[in-house]
Symmetry: C2
């Protein structure tokens, strides 16, 4: 937990590098995964909570054409609420959001279903503003294996090609829901750092979706980023997880992997009906009911911890991180500056 990486960053000769925030600008606050039931109310909470950028999921199982309908919905929200939100395309849009008092919305897929079987769609979706794509979501995809499959044969032939094309155009590989071998192969295959936008360490809470120490070391050794999830199934103690437990876990992760590779990806699914979590888990691939991380007795969305239920609550996390001993620079990095730096490196052409 020291600032050496940040010092290196400030000395970088790259002219296009965004400046580290100065005393004239607040540090960026970035949440690298939400899928809420979007509304004016939630967008106003983003502003009230001083959230400068949010990576939002726009596809779980959608085809290309269905995903475009989701972009159309967002376009209407951008048109209706220009004082609150706008489409983010680059890290500079986070600084713009700070200056203008708005929230930059970055699109992502939790499944490669929108690119169908067509590598050309990778550049197309990037042109539409998509900046993250998971190579798989729980199940086997055309690209990689999901974390719920019994066996993981690693990246597919299409998967290898897709990673190369994603690297070229600046679409970040996200392995949050992928199985370990596929994840390790994606880290190795990718010429640019990748992300696990929303998961926690398996050593803290051994959920299937949380990530092994081996995966997290490989991810961060290659310059990649981990976003800590605040979804109860990913938390030690579930809905009763304490802020202190969560922040102590972040401190341990910082000791293991370096705090500069860490941020938040809350996985906040605010105000969603349970039909949405059923869609996430079942899509159109099964006629039975798959409960995913839930169960027949608890099939719906779990209750959020008391200290994190909306975009208004990032201040609680910030205070909690300071309370477990992070320096103010480290807290700023964890709350968004680390993601900003990663966005800056990741979203342009290779």
């Amino acid at each position: 937990m020291n600032g050496s990486e940040m010092s290196i960053r400030c000395e970088s000769p790259r002219p296009e590098r965004l400046p580290y925030h100065s005393e004239h600008m607040s540090p960026a606050r970035v949440d690298c995964l939400q899928y809420s039931n979007w509304s004016e109310s939630i967008f106003r909470e983003m502003r009230a909570g001083e959230v400068d950028a949010v990576h939002v999921t726009i596809a779980y199982h959608e085809s290309f054409r269905e995903m475009v309908l989701r972009v159309e919905e967002w376009n209407r929200w951008f048109e209706r609420f220009p004082e609150l939100i706008f489409l983010g395309r680059s890290a500079a849009d986070i600084r713009r959001a700070q200056t203008e008092g708005r929230t930059a919305i970055f699109f992502g897929f939790q499944n490669p279903s929108p690119i169908e079987d067509d590598i050309g769609l990778i550049e197309i979706v990037h042109q539409l503003g998509v900046r993250f794509m998971q190579l798989s979501y729980n199940n086997q995809s055309l690209l990689a294996t999901g974390c719920y499959e019994a066996d993981d044969p690693g990246l597919t032939r299409f998967g290898v090609q897709a990673v190369e094309e994603m690297n070229r155009v600046g679409l970040v590989v996200d392995m949050s829901h992928s199985a370990d071998r596929s994840t390790l192969e994606a880290i190795a295959a990718s010429s640019r750092p990748i992300a696990i936008t929303h998961a926690n360490p398996h050593w803290w809470h051994p959920a299937l979706r949380n990530k092994s120490d081996e995966v997290l070391r490989a991810l961060t050794d290659a310059g990649g980023m981990l976003g800590f999830s605040l979804y109860p199934h990913h938390l030690a103690g579930g809905s009763d997880c304490t802020l202190e437990s969560f922040c102590s876990m972040v401190a341990e992760a910082a000791d293991r992997y370096g705090s500069e590779h860490l941020g938040l990806g809350s996985d906040l699914c605010q105000s969603q009906p349970d039909s949405v979590v059923e869609w996430m888990r079942n899509g159109r691939w099964t006629k039975a009911m798959d409960y995913g991380e839930g169960s027949a007795s608890a099939p719906g969305f779990p209750a959020q911890p008391s200290w994190f239920g909306s975009n208004l609550d990032f201040g609680n996390v910030e205070k909690g991180l300071a309370a477990v001993g992070f320096t103010s620079d480290e807290v700023e990095g964890l709350m968004g500056e680390n993601w900003l730096r990663f966005f800056d490196d990741s979203f342009g052409p290779a």
Copy 2:
């Protein structure tokens, strides 16, 4: 044929207005319609012919998904030939093309088929780089009537909504293949000037596709642009049309409508097999053979005039325009500066 409009333009207080070319920069050369059988050879001819910008057709009858495949093809060409071509999105990209010695490619549809029945796709296709859309192509569309229909009931309910949305996002209404009433209604409905990118005056050559004096006056009185076609079926004398006849027609049109509203839209279909003109005319809408502007005895692409067969030949047109008495400023306007000014006004948000 005087420069009053250009003087007004130079005095415009709009800070974002692109500067008129100076003696340090050549005037822009812009062709506002081509649909050639694209290849490295043709892209090299664009450069050799000093063509700075070309509006290319990417859809005749394609669905949204099929049109995306055409964008994907262009993306591959942009990737393979970055020293020759790039995607143009704004008028500034024409100046960039001049500076970098490349050609900016602007996308357009000759039919609204790619937006299907979905007004949200107008913003989506604009995000993908599309800058022109015809409201109809020969036949009735969901938006307007084509010039080959027996009756023209004018803009449809969807058509009125689509024009408003096109105005909002900066997608230019193009009525090159539309019937008169629909065209006049589109001019009236549109809050921004529209275009007829590729057609000639009916008073010069009474082809069905050429435009009445009434339409051309309404178009240009509203600030719109006409691009003169060099497709033989639109030329007096067809393939035997002389350069002098063509340029004298341009001079007459300039006297009637003002040269500042005029440019080129050659409709060049270089190296295309006749199967392509069959697709243009027949799409999937008929099992019979529609010959369009051709005939059973001459079903294919007609031969180009000797003085205009490729992107190498714009210099002939430029000389021909000077020879019929246009001033050098007017020639520069006709060869591209008028389109550049129109692009500058048209492609951004309203």
